[in-house]
């Protein structure tokens, strides 16, 4: 008798064929246990919010406008919220009109709708390497062919992007768009330099490019500085994605897209097909937060919290990491991108890390092409400061022991284990 564990198998669309259970995902089930210091999830420090203020805002929404808050809304999102978000963008120097915006269920739905709008199976998307795992998920679920362009400490290597563009043109192909996270990139923790932003904008004009600018972290530079958005440089060539997840709270699931009008119209129709409209309730809570509370002060508070955590992590990395390990030095947001010597595979090592009560995300998750095997993302935004030091110490002990083990197992064939700390001269390491 043949036993079928999935009787629906012949009915699935092609796009789900590659979706399978994953060992790494299973290990994250353990990483969530309190015994483990987890640098894995990119979770904001919601404990730094003024909860009484949030409570007051939410209570007022229900008390004064409950019937509207609990009703359906428009597919583009509430005009009042869109106007408030224009102010948030203005605070960062990103120009937009309220009518250019589509409210989404977090930045992730924005990426999904944009992928759905543009990607046919096999279409090429150029993306930073490494890039946001959720971006890869949204794009690959529409069967995009993601090609990575390397980064270094100044972000996307725009000269290499230009080479790729020429190479594609020579093949008679073009990328549907270029996906970038210019500020405090997830996972690399670096920002694109002003020179490169300007050059990217020029390339967009020269090569008739569309750019997907994903910007969750632009307001989280530790010293409060902001860099010009790509949208501010070439607005007609940019689809910009913003979110309240990092400057307020991910639980309200509020993001937005700013797009040229023809694209915006398509996105509104796609979103109506997907989920009709964003939640009025959470939109009104965010609206209330932005119109009645000192949200700029809250963002300052978040910056301080994350700066302290980053300082702790970077200090501890300097103290604890063995020679041969390199990492990026973020000046904002959540992430450090760490490269270990070849011979250590960070996917394999995760089990041992969890057994040693520390967790990270292995680098391969941030590439569509399987690279990143000797890299990892460390997110410092969520654990308390004391736990960060403790977690880095555990990771340091683990890597010291692993280097010793790898050297012992490989014997004379040890692959490049003696590399010294080399900074960021070429790429992000790896």
């Amino acid at each position: 008798m043949r036993l079928e564990t999935d009787p629906y198998l012949t009915r699935y669309a092609q796009r789900v064929q590659g979706m399978s259970a994953s060992e790494i995902r299973a290990l994250f089930a353990v990483a969530a246990r309190p015994e483990i210091v987890s640098f894995a999830g990119g979770m904001p420090a919601t404990s730094a919010l003024d909860m009484e203020a949030v409570e007051a805002v939410a209570a007022r929404v229900i008390r004064e406008t409950g019937a509207t808050a609990l009703q359906y809304g428009g597919g583009q999102g509430r005009p009042e919220l869109r106007r408030a978000l224009v102010e948030v963008m203005d605070h960062q120097g990103v120009p937009a009109h309220a009518d250019d915006l589509v409210i989404t269920v977090g930045g992730q739905q924005a990426l999904e709708l944009i992928a759905k709008c543009f990607i046919d199976p096999g279409d090429i998307v150029l993306a930073e390497g490494p890039t946001y795992v959720g971006g890869i998920g949204a794009l690959t679920s529409h069967q995009a062919d993601i090609r990575h362009v390397p980064m270094d400490a100044d972000g996307l290597q725009v000269d290499l992007l230009e080479e790729r563009l020429h190479a594609l043109a020579a093949e008679g192909r073009r990328a549907k768009f270029v996906y970038v996270i210019p500020n405090h990139q997830n996972p690399a923790g670096v920002s694109m330099s002003i020179e490169r932003r300007l050059r990217l904008a020029e390339l967009a004009d020269e090569h008739d490019l569309l750019i997907l600018e994903d910007d969750p972290y632009g307001l989280l530079t530790f010293n409060g500085d902001t860099l010009p958005s790509i949208r501010s440089l070439v607005p007609s060539r940019v689809i910009y994605v913003g979110t309240m997840s990092k400057t307020f709270a991910p639980g309200v699931r509020t993001g937005w897209i700013v797009a040229p009008r023809p694209i915006r119209d398509k996105l509104v129709l796609l979103r109506e097909a997907a989920d009709l409209c964003p939640s009025n309730l959470t939109q009104m809570v965010v609206e209330g937060w932005l119109t009645s509370q000192p949200w700029r002060e809250q963002i300052k508070r978040f910056r301080e919290v994350y700066r302290d955590k980053a300082d702790t992590m970077l200090g501890a990395l300097g103290d604890e990491m063995p020679d041969g390990v390199t990492w990026t030095v973020p000046v904002g947001a959540f992430y450090v991108w760490l490269t270990v010597p070849r011979g250590i595979d960070t996917s394999d090592l995760l089990a041992k890390a969890i057994s040693n009560r520390v967790a990270y995300v292995p680098g391969r998750g941030f590439y569509a092409d399987g690279s990143g095997g000797n890299q990892m993302r460390l997110c410092f935004s969520y654990p308390e400061v004391e736990r960060i030091a403790e977690g880095v110490q555990r990771l340091g002990e683990l890597l010291h022991a692993e280097l010793e083990l790898v050297t012992a197992v490989y014997g004379d064939d040890a692959p490049q284990l003696r590399a010294r700390r080399t900074g960021q001269a070429s790429g992000l390491g790896g």
């Binding site: 008798m1 994953s22 299973a26 290990l27 353990v30 197992v409 014997g411």
Partner: protein
């Protein structure tokens, strides 16, 4: 996590003449690397038992475990734990200490099966076919220069080779390598899961699993991944592997496999329920790889398939196992004690 499930009965329930516990703790989760799989097993067991009217409570294994088990006055524990602590005899020892009957093999049998190299040696002594193998500890590499001998592994075992942690399940840390150049990476990878690695000669053939329920073999389940090896993704992605129960083998070969599974079960002194994983080579010889003393009960797991082929649904199977656990409390010696 500690939540009630099921609509419950307030005492003993009698099914087909057997007495089944009134209050059942289904233990799953824990901090093992197989936590997620264990939670899935535990969920399926708890649902199946509560569907049959039992009072079931799911209990995660955490630092409050003993207090929870003692305060809630359970009659019996169903162990749906995978990985260290759940399968290596640790939890079994604790449950014996507090006098709570539990399902599956006892402390000694669990700890023997958990250590694959020891268990394989024992199977060999009982006349079973076990693949040629080498075990190497991290210490052997760190302190005794084992890397200088790695070349000889392929010389003596040939290739391909299977490299896996000496303990643990779900194919975690397992690699099948085609030649010796890939050995160091595979060994380092397996060391992420255990202090000792087991390197085996790869036996080509039909992969089967034989469930042994109270000393009797259930129909063998044949495992045929649609692509590549029966790895983690092939195990837990519905539809990724084709199964046949009974396995499509000659009756004589099937009988030999079932006999081998029962012999191995007896050799380690197992009881209640275990699953033997084997490869049947082209000549029909069953090669035993390991026994899982706390086998998976997920939607893609092998034991429920074997039970279904024997006409038992998951709830009935769990009831049988619980009944055996309660009988053992009444004084029945575990298998192997009399040998």
């Amino acid at each position: 996590m500690h939540g009630a499930g099921g609509d419950g009965t307030d005492g003993s329930d009698t099914t087909e003449g057997r007495t089944v516990a009134g209050s059942i703790a289904v233990l799953s989760g824990g901090i093992s690397l197989e936590r997620e799989v264990s939670l899935r097993s535990g969920g399926r067991v708890a649902d199946a038992l509560s569907d049959r009217g039992h009072q079931v409570t799911r209990v995660d294994v955490d630092p409050n475990l003993i207090r929870t088990l003692e305060e809630d006055h359970f009659d019996v524990a169903y162990l749906a734990l995978h990985g260290s602590a759940g399968e290596d005899g640790t939890i079994q020892s604790l449950l014996e200490l507090i006098g709570l009957p539990y399902t599956g093999p006892d402390v000694l049998a669990s700890s023997i099966a958990w250590n694959k190299p020891i268990a394989q040696g024992l199977y060999g002594r009982h006349g079973l076919h076990v693949p040629d193998r080498v075990t190497l500890s991290q210490q052997a590499f760190r302190e005794m220069g084992a890397s200088a001998a790695v070349d000889r592994i392929a010389d003596s075992l040939g290739s391909p080779l299977v490299v896996k942690p000496a303990t643990g399940g779900s194919s975690l840390g397992l690699s099948i390598i085609q030649d010796a150049t890939a050995l160091p990476q595979a060994i380092v990878g397996a060391f992420s899961y255990a202090e000792v690695v087991l390197i085996e000669r790869f036996v080509a053939g039909t992969e089967i699993a034989v469930t042994v329920l109270d000393g009797q073999a259930l129909p063998a389940v044949e495992i045929q991944p649609k692509e590549g090896a029966y790895d983690f993704a092939a195990r837990y992605t519905a539809g990724a592997t084709e199964f046949h129960a009974p396995a499509r083998l000659d009756p004589d070969v099937l009988a030999a496999c079932e006999q081998a599974a029962v012999t191995a079960y007896t050799a380690i002194g197992a009881r209640h329920l275990s699953r033997a994983d084997m490869i049947v080579d082209a000549s029909g010889t069953p090669w035993i790889l390991e026994i899982d003393t706390c086998p998976g009960m997920t939607g893609t797991s092998l034991v429920p398939m074997a039970a279904a082929a024997a006409g038992l649904d998951v709830g009935e199977l769990c009831e049988r196992v619980l009944d055996l656990a309660l009988c053992d409390r009444a004084g029945r010696p575990p298998e192997g004690d009399s040998r």
